[in-house]
Amino acid sequence: MPRVYNWQLGRQMDYRFETGTQKRQFAAVFNINRCIACQTCTMACKSTWTFSPGQELMWWNNVETKPFGGYPHHWDTKLLALQEAADPGGQVWDARAPTRAAPYGTFVGKTIFETADGVEKQATGYLPTDDEWKSPNLFEDTATRFSPTGATLPEHSGWFFYLQRICNHCTFPACVAACPRNAAYKREEDGIVLIDQQRCRGYRKCVEACPYKKAMYRPTTRTSEKCIGCYPRVEGTDPLTESIPMETRCMTACIGKIRLQGLVNVQPDGQWAEDRQNPLYYLVHVERVALPLYPQFGTQPNVYYIPPRWVPRDYLHQMFGPGADDAIARYTNPSRELLAVLQLFRATQKIIFSYRIEPGPKTAEFTIDGQKREIYNDTVLGFDSKGNEIVRITVNEPFYERPDRFAMNTI
C-alpha cells in the first residue's frame, strides 16, 4: 500500500492511492465562535441539491449542537470508540513545537486506514441505520449541564456549541479508498470528492467508511450521493460570475459570516504549497488559528475550524487535536493581520485567491486580562482568480450619521 504524507498528523501513513497529481484543493475555514445555528446554510444546500424523492433524510450541510447532537446520531463518538477499541490507550499525540510539515506535532495512534485489514474493509467505520439519519438536529441547544450561577471564560461549566459540517473533501478520502469500483473519486483540479452516479452500485462502502458520514444512501436510485462542493460555482461555470470561481451555496448564504471558502495550491506530496497571501493558507498555516476536524482519523480533512473559546480544552483536543490551545489564544488576542483577514469572511460571493492589507490609523487601545491591545483600522483587499479586486473592507465597521431629515425615524 502506498505511503503518503499527512501533514495534519505530522507523519507518513498508509493510503490506498498515491498522491502527486492534484493541483489545487477545495478548503474552507468555519469560525465556530460566530455561528448562531440559523441553518441558513443547511437550507441553502437543501434547496439547491437535495429536494427530490429519496433525499428526504439527506443533509449535505448540517449544523449540530455539540457535544450531544450529531447527524447521523453520535457519528463521531461511535467512530472514536471503534478506534479506541482497535488501539486501546494508543490514540494519542506527541505534541511538539509546530513546524510547517507538522503544525500540531505527531499523531502516534492509528488512523482509520491503519486499524482496517484492507481485505474486508479499507477503513474502520460503520453503517448508520435509518433511525440515526432521522432527526438531524436532535439535542439542539442542549448544554452539558445547567449553570445556576452563570458561566465564565476560559471554560464554561455548562456548555454547548454549534458544529457546522459539510463534506471535508479530504486529501485522503476514506470514501474513495473504500469504493471497490472507483465510483468515488477526487478531482485533480480542485480536490472536490464526487461519487460518479453512473458508476455507483449502491454498495454503501463509502457510507460505511466516511468518518464524517457525509456520503449518504439514496433509496430511490439505490446509489450513494454526497456533497459536490457546488463544483459548478467553484469552477466558475455558474453564469452569475462569468467564469470567476465562486464560493459554494452554504458559504455564501451564511448570515453569521462564519465561513470563508477557497482553493489552495497543493504540492506533489499533498501538502499545501506556500501561498502567504491566500487567506486560507494564512489562517491555517501561518496563524494556525483554524484546525482540522478530528485529524486523528487520518483523512486530512479540508474544512478548518476556529475552535469555540468557552469549551473545555480536553474536548477540543479530542475534536481538533493539540493545536486547540494556541488557536484559541490567537483568536482571543488576534494579531493586527488576523483581525484584518477575519473581515474577509462573507465580504464577497467570489473566491478570494489573495489579499493585501493597507495600513490604517490606530483607533483604540485598551487592556484585557492584563494584556495591552491596540486596534488599527486597516483596510483589507481581496482579489479573485484573475487578480482583480473584488472586496475592500476596513477593520472598523464604517459609521454613518443620519442626516437631519431622517431624525423622526421615517425610514
Binding site: V119, E120, L127, P180, N182, K205, T221
Partner: protein, 321 residues
C-alpha cells in the same frame, strides 16, 4: 486360497464399477473441485420466467458448491453453501433456474442499512481468448454477468414501501434529471430486476449498453428460486453467446442481504460446465431414459455380485468338505 483372493478382488471391482455408475447417472459430485456439468436440453414447451413453471419438474438439478469470496477487497460472504441449478432451452433462448436456501427474506434496500438478496450468473464473453478468471474476468478474457436483485423484482422501489406513514409537502421536480443516477442511465437506478453486466477484472464491472438478460424470482419455502433467460445470440459487446451442441462455462454468486452482503462480499462458485444439448429433454413427460439405464446397471451389477458370491460360497463349501 487362490480362489478366495480372486473372489474378493472381483467383489471389490464390482462394487467400484457399481458406485461409479451410480455417481455418473445421478450426477452427484463427491469432489467439490471437480467440474460440474449442467446440461440444458431443449424443452418441449416454453418454460417462461416463472420459477414454478411445470416445465422445470422434469429437469434434474445440479448442485453447485459455493464459498466465501476471499480473493480481493471487498472480501466476505459465505453464508450460502450451495445452489441448485437447472437449465433448458426453448425457441432459441437459454433458461437457467437457480434455487438456494436463505431463511431470511431481504427484498428491500430502501433503508440505509438494508441490503437485498441477489444472485448472479457469470459466463465467459464470446471474445474471451481463454477461459477467464472466475473472479470477474481478466483483460484478455471478459465475462458477461446477469444479476438479479430481489428488491426490484418485488417492486420495493418507492419510499412508501419502507415508510408507509411518510408525508412530504411536495417535490418541485420529479423527472429523471433529479433522480440523478437514473438520469445518468445507471441500471442500478432503473427499476429492472435483472441487469446485464460485463467485466474484465475485479473492480471493473461495467454496465452493458445492451440490457438483454431477463429474469424473475420467487420466494420458496426455504429460500429463493430465480429463472434467468436470454436469446442464444446477443448483440451486446463482451456478451456470451450460446448454441445447441456447444459448451461454455458458468459460475454463480449469491448475496444474502441479512448478512449485509453486496459487492465482493458474496458466496461464489467455481466455473461449472454448461452444455447446451442439441437433444430434447429426455423422457419429457414419460419415464426418464437415464432412470431405465440406471435401473438396468443396478440390476446387472447386483446380479453380478450375487453370482460372484454364490460361486465363492460354493467353492468355500466344497473346500471345507
Amino acid at each position: 486360497m487362490t480362489m478366495h483372493v480372486r473372489s474378493r478382488k472381483l467383489l471389490v471391482a464390482c462394487l467400484v464399477l457399481l458406485t461409479a455408475a451410480v455417481l455418473q447417472f445421478t450426477g452427484v459430485n463427491p469432489a467439490a473441485s471437480q467440474t460440474v456439468l449442467l446440461v440444458a436440453y431443449e424443452s418441449p414447451r416454453d418454460p417462461g420466467l416463472d420459477p414454478t413453471s411445470a416445465a422445470w419438474d422434469a429437469v434434474r438439478a445440479v448442485e453447485v458448491p459455493l464459498a466465501a469470496q476471499r480473493g480481493s477487497y471487498a472480501a466476505g460472504g459465505g453464508s450460502v453453501a450451495t445452489v441448485r441449478l437447472k437449465a433448458l432451452h426453448y425457441g432459441g433462448s437459454l433458461y437457467i433456474r437457480v434455487e438456494w436456501t436463505d431463511r431470511t427474506e431481504n427484498a428491500s434496500a430502501l433503508r440505509a442499512e438494508d441490503f437485498t438478496d441477489a444472485v448472479a450468473l457469470e459466463f465467459p464473453s464470446r471474445t474471451a481468448a481463454t477461459v477467464p478468471s472466475v473472479c470477474m474476468g481478466q483483460p484478455d478474457a471478459g465475462v458477461n454477468i446477469w444479476y438479479w436483485r430481489a428488491d426490484v423484482d418485488a417492486g420495493n422501489v418507492a419510499l412508501a414501501a419502507a415508510y408507509p406513514n411518510m408525508q412530504v409537502d411536495g417535490y418541485p421536480f420529479e423527472d429523471d434529471t433529479f433522480l440523478t443516477a437514473r438520469g445518468a442511465a445507471n441500471p442500478v437506478a432503473a427499476d429492472r430486476p435483472v441487469q446485464t453486466l460485463t467485466s474484465r477484472l475485479f473492480g471493473y464491472l461495467n454496465t452493458s449498453p445492451v440490457q438483454d438478460a431477463a429474469g424473475k424470482g420467487t420466494r420458496t419455502e426455504s429460500g429463493w428460486a430465480v429463472v434467468f433467460s436470454r436469446t442464444f445470440r446477443s448483440t451486446g459487446p463482451d456478451h456470451a453467446d450460446f448454441a445447441p451442441g456447444a459448451r461454455t462455462d458458468l459460475a454463480v454468486a449469491v448475496w444474502d442481504g441479512a448478512n449485509r452482503e453486496r459487492d465482493g462480499m458474496k458466496s461464489v462458485s467455481q466455473f461449472a460446465t454448461l452444455q447446451v444439448a442439441a437433444a430434447s429433454l429426455p423422457g419429457g413427460g414419460g419415464i426418464d431414459g437415464r432412470f431405465i439405464a440406471l435401473a438396468a446397471i443396478l440390476l446387472v451389477g447386483l446380479s453380478g455380485i450375487g453370482i460372484g458370491l454364490a460361486i465363492y460360497g460354493a467353492a468355500e463349501r466344497s473346500r471345507e468338505r
